[in-house]
Amino acid sequence: MKALSYLLITQLKNRILSLKKKPALLILNIFVFAMLILLIVVSVFATEEMNYGMDFADERIIYLIIAGLGFLFLGINITTGLSTGSTLFTMSDVGLLFVAPISPKKILLYGIISTLGKTFLASFFILYQIGTLKSEFGYGMREILILLLIYVLLIFACQLISIGVYIFSNGNLVRKKAIQAIFITAGAILVALALVYQRSHQTDIMDALLWMVDQNWFGFIPIAGWAVLLFKGVIEEIFIKVLGAGIFYTIFSILFIYLLTSGKSDYYEDVLLSTELTDQKLKAAKEGRKYSPKSNRKIKIKEDNKEAIKGIGAAVLAYKNRLERKRRSRFVYIDGYTVFACIGTGIAAYNMKGNEFAGYIILGTLAYILFFMTVFGPLNFELSKHYIYLIPDKSVKKIVASSITSLLKPCVDGVFIFGIMALLGGTDPLTAIFLALAYMGIGVLYVGLTVMYQRVLGGQPNMLAKAFVGIGLLLIVLAPSIISSVIVAMILPESLRFLSTLPFTICSVAFTAIIFIACGDLLDKSDYLVK
């Protein structure tokens, strides 16, 4: 164990010492820590009297959030387990520890402790919710620390599940199907129960969900239910509930660790692939590349020449991107995201019927998702290959050509998404058309921003600085568009309110044109940073 404890301690020590070489990161860490202390002090002492006699929010909301998080982590980790598995290790562990004469059980313990440490650090963000939790629910430090513990337990248990599912189902389709069936059936039963309650009590779905998480039997549902049971036990000061949850988690952890280390099972081979994939993801993130995992879907290459690349010079990039899209999705621009966004919009629009801001809320949510999809999307990927830099054509032509599919995608999505919104949400068709145009406009603007980011921040190795400046640039570019639309919305009479997003659309397109003109020389003026 000496080598492993040395490794754990030395890594922690070096991580802290490395801050000396990164003053910006050191300042950020000190700032975050100081803010945290300030928040704790202020919320613990300052609001003690304010809370006295106040009506707090329904506690079941917190139970529902815990359960929701639990199911979300569970779903993600089971899906990962069915494909590549999760990992507690890094490639250096594989290369140096797995081959060393150290017991695999001890190495597993090292992996667990190391992962728990990282998870614990990541969970500190919960402490920033102290203010809200205290003012809305009247919680003190005890409850907040329990929430922190629950978060760590959820992440840890779900990671174990992911590895367990992978070991149990790797290469066995029947087992994979069985796990999927169990998870889907369990989910369907819970949804059915909530719907039955909603129908029989003539209430809304939120009320039904709140009822469900408050039931005693919910505490017996693995992972998510146990987390709710633990928190309820602390809140209601019922020791048996806390003990029950503790026993459940302990038995579960022992069982899964036993599965990993027992008999002939050799977890080294099982975690190798997932460790390699995790390592590739991390490397891609560090180099600012997009990580594209190998798809299991067999892509059929047509014998005829109908799929061939067309165009000459820079234009070939547009045709190549279109061909790549076609190979990812049969309908080229209509893909999984289009379907997901349409379903989400349909549900939201239906539930917010009659709300005059529904369209804008949906537009804002979709614009938020679209930002990440575009900035880390195809253009960013194209810039990670050297070909675009070498093609003998003007930089601006190459940038425009390689952006065409990214420019068209939100246009196609906009038609479907806001068409669905008009259909299911009863939104006035003119408003839906102008919202779709605004969505297209912001999609176009994000493509422009991707080019601008590469031009302004392409050579910046510090990811944190990139993120800060990136968000700043986004706000600067978005502000005039949003302000102009808000002003127009206030001026316009009710009958012409549907035009309120038009200034936003026009500004977005105009800004994009300016960015393309100003940053069109990107390929001549920026560094290609991928090895």
Partner: protein, 240 residues
């Protein structure tokens, strides 16, 4: 002809290339030798127009970022970078169209056959092993019939047949009058055909020799390489 004149490349405070100058003439194979981190790949990327730098680089008399320079340049990167969703043949077609090549199919067929890729024509980039990807990358770099060729550690990951073919190809291209620059840290791999060698250390060119100079003096390139790299290491060690 390739002319590199006073090129300096910095990454923050780190000077990756420090005032580097050299030339590669038509019909010459020049090698960049040096240990890991000497700055070989950086200067190759500067020449290929992938990095910003201070100084001047000319490809056949044209500034390296000009369109004509790009037309005359072939670049084979250290790490093959293929498109996952394009087949081997589509990579050829993509390059041919991007460079507006005519009558390229015969040349593409010949290259694929030479590197034993004929049966992989319909394989997607994602379905190829790293070695196969490197072979496709070589074919893409050569298809445009470039006058100046840059090869960054080109033998890494190749099988013996592909190494032999690549060496033959490099010699053929020299005989056709191409200026060829190869970066490597493996002297043995270029021993048979190099014409001039630049030994790099800490971002600078520490020594330059031609084959004829070495033949005349009896100097050994490998001995010179170790003399430069190891004396530098000792000097740095002494300073520490």
């Amino acid at each position: 002809m390739l002319t590199v004149n006073g090129v300096t490349k910095k990454y923050g405070k780190l000077i990756a290339n420090d005032n580097i100058s050299f030339e590669v003439n038509p019909g010459e194979i020049s090698v960049l030798l040096g240990p890991n981190g000497a700055g070989k790949s950086t200067i190759i990327k500067c020449i290929a127009g992938l990095l910003k730098f201070k100084g001047n680089i000319y490809i056949n008399g044209n500034e390296n970022k000009s369109l004509q320079a790009k037309r005359d340049l072939g670049y084979i990167p250290e790490m093959p970078a293929l498109y996952d969703l394009l087949t081997v043949w589509e990579h050829m077609e993509f390059i041919a169209r991007a460079y507006s090549l005519e009558n390229w199919k015969e040349q593409a067929e010949a290259l694929l056959e030479r590197f034993e890729l004929e049966d992989k024509r319909k394989k997607l980039g994602s379905e190829l092993s790293k070695g196969m990807q490197q072979k496709v990358s070589i074919c893409c770099g050569i298809l445009t019939d470039p006058k100046v060729i840059l090869l960054d550690e080109p033998m890494v990951g190749l099988d013996p047949h592909a190494i032999k073919e690549l060496k033959n190809l490099i010699i053929e291209r020299r005989n056709k009058g191409n200026a060829i620059l190869i970066s490597t840290h493996m002297l043995d791999s270029v021993d048979e055909f190099w014409d001039s060698a630049n030994i790099m250390m800490n971002g600078k060119i520490a020594a330059r020799r031609t084959r004829s100079e070495i033949a005349g003096t009896g100097e050994d390139l490998e001995a010179l390489f170790f003399q430069i790299t190891e004396s530098n290491r000792d000097r740095i060690g002494g300073m520490e």
